[in-house]
Symmetry: C2
Subunit: 72 residues, 2 copies
């Protein structure tokens, strides 16, 4: 997995753990739903501002988000 | 500090700890020197692929890079 795919997988896990749909996450984060879908599918080279927006909307922090062996 | 500024600060610290100039980091990572300078100054909304390139070139990991209270 490349970094885009790892981030997509972890974002999707975090979102589903919180019980949010992509639509709801899009609405709450003000990030486009199609963009979120592409990020989750590992297709998008997301920027740090959008990544932080999504992570914070999902109730986590950038530190906690990357605290996983996938990012070693 | 916003996320761009935090990342810039930590990248610069990591680079100088390794004793690398921006020129050398640019050469080794294949990321443009002007871009690196702007990232370090907190002006650039860096994408995850370029961020990972710089971090790995500097001998660290994305996990370790974000493991700091600034990113909580």
């Amino acid at each position: 997995m490349d970094i885009k795919e790892k981030i997509g997988k972890h974002l999707k896990n975090l979102r589903t753990d919180k019980g949010l749909t992509q639509e709801k996450l899009s609405y709450e984060s003000d990030v486009d739903k199609t963009y979120i879908s592409e990020v989750e599918n590992g297709k998008r080279n997301i920027s740090v501002i959008n990544l932080e927006k999504l992570i914070v909307t999902l109730g986590s922090s950038v530190k906690d988000f990357f605290n996983h062996k996938d990012f070693e």
